[in-house]
């Protein structure tokens, strides 16, 4: 797939990340086009999570740039000159975490309305109506008054997705969102993500669910030792791998 700069929503250019002497990302490039679903796969320690966390500046890159709709993201929270602020970036780039990270002192509805009300200054009534819509969409309309601790893992993750969607993000970053779930709860979360993909949401997904990645992703990246070792269609990368390390990796997940 080729992308022109017009429909590029989020891009990483020569992205590097080091923790002390350990370099985990060694100059990665990625352009996410509008409506594209990119799956990031690779062995643990390959840098997938560090990479996706750099895309919304959750980790500060050691080198290289993040571009949002063609504008460079700066290191300040607010916009400064030509660069856009980290806060501005995150308002438009949602993230869902492996461990949900719901706010335990707030109800499900409050978890979803928190961003719009506090960050976007949306009127409460409007934010709550939208939150109810989103909760219905992820199949949790009846749970709006519950506290996160009373939900199953799958339900928590669907609330977390609704919380991210409440900001009307241009891009959604999903970081191993099913890895902490019991196997029987994985399906309900994947179903929601599949619906988002079908609705045209631009997403970057770090996952170990090969079948799901092959099914939902328009493009698959295989990360290995801090570089993008393969970049292509699901057909090429997951179903007919040629790279021997990729073959070994995929074979382990086929079972």
């Amino acid at each position: 797939m080729t992308t022109t700069s017009n429909d590029a929503v989020l891009a990483a250019v020569g992205l590097r990340k080091s923790y002390g002497a350990l370099e985990v990302l060694k100059g990665l490039d990625l352009t996410l086009a509008r409506g594209e679903v990119v799956a990031l796969i690779g062995p643990s320690g390959s840098g997938k999570s560090s990479f996706i966390r750099c895309l919304n500046m959750m980790e500060t890159p050691s080198g290289g740039d993040i571009l949002f709709r063609g504008r460079k993201v700066g290191d300040k929270f607010r916009d400064a000159g030509e660069t856009i602020g980290i806060g501005t970036l995150r308002r438009q780039v949602g993230m869902v975490f492996q461990h949900f990270n719901l706010f335990p002192h707030k109800t499900v509805l409050q978890n979803v309305t928190e961003g719009p009300i506090v960050v976007c200054k949306t009127p409460r009534k409007e934010a709550e109506d939208r939150a109810r819509e989103l909760l219905a969409k992820v199949g949790l309309a009846d749970k709006h008054a519950a506290y996160p601790n009373h939900l199953s893992g799958g339900q928590k993750q669907r609330v977390a997705i609704a919380r991210a969607l409440a900001m009307d993000p241009q891009v959604l970053l999903l970081d191993e969102v099913t890895s902490a779930l019991d196997p029987e709860l994985v399906g309900e979360v994947l179903t929601v993500i599949r619906q988002l993909a079908e609705a045209g949401m631009t997403m970057a997904i770090v996952t170990h669910e090969m079948a799901f990645a092959a099914d939902v992703a328009s493009r698959v990246l295989f990360l290995d030792q801090g570089v993008i070792a393969e970049n292509g269609s699901a057909q090429d990368v997951i179903l007919k791998p040629t790279n021997p390390r990729l073959q070994a990796f995929v074979a382990r997940f086929r079972g």
Binding site: N56, M58, F77, G87, T88, R90, R91, G94, M95, F97, H99, F100, N101, L102, F103, P104, H105, E114, G115, V118, V119, C120, N149, A160, R163, A164, A166, M167
Partner: protein
Amino acid sequence: MTNYQWDFFTVWQNYDLFLYGMWITVVYTFGSIFFGVVIGFMTCAARLSSWRSLQAIARIYQEIFRCSPLLVQLLWFYYAFPLLVGGSIDNRVAAMLTLSLYVGSFYAEIFRGGIVSIDRGQREAAAAIGMSPWQSMVRIILPQALKRMLPSFINQSIIQFKNSSLVSVISVADLAYMAAVVNGQTYRPLESYTVMAALYIALLLPLTQIADWVERRLRASD
């Protein structure tokens, strides 16, 4: 001892001194708790800031006040500090200042402990929806941290109530000081100091009960 003639009446005739002492004890306790919270909050903020020298100053203050006895601090501020700066210090000012600095150093650690105990994922989730560090602290981290701090905070405050009796050594007229005054007037140490002990217990018992109740409530809502 068997023939001892208890005489609480003579002691009780000085009830106004005990009442005044209790009032002063309450004033110094709650006054120093108030200032201690302010000091503790600022110290905690300094410890959590990214400014190294500020962290160091806060750390040094904390260690000085946590690692020396309150009695020693009171004596130093009242008798030594004025010589150092060339002047004199009112014993009431020295007492309030020392009590506040002392409890503030412990509060700072309670506040800091509560904040850093909140899972990193909470801050990340707040950041991911575009919250500023300040919004994240006020709306997400602090509400959860306060709940965790509360039992330790109440406990430290109860200890502070009892520690306030040390201000009597620099002649602040608190309950302990007044008991000594009554003893001096009546020559009835057994009665004077028994009444003092009973009054401390009467003041503190409701507080420990409240602490237990708060702790039970917090546990129930988890």
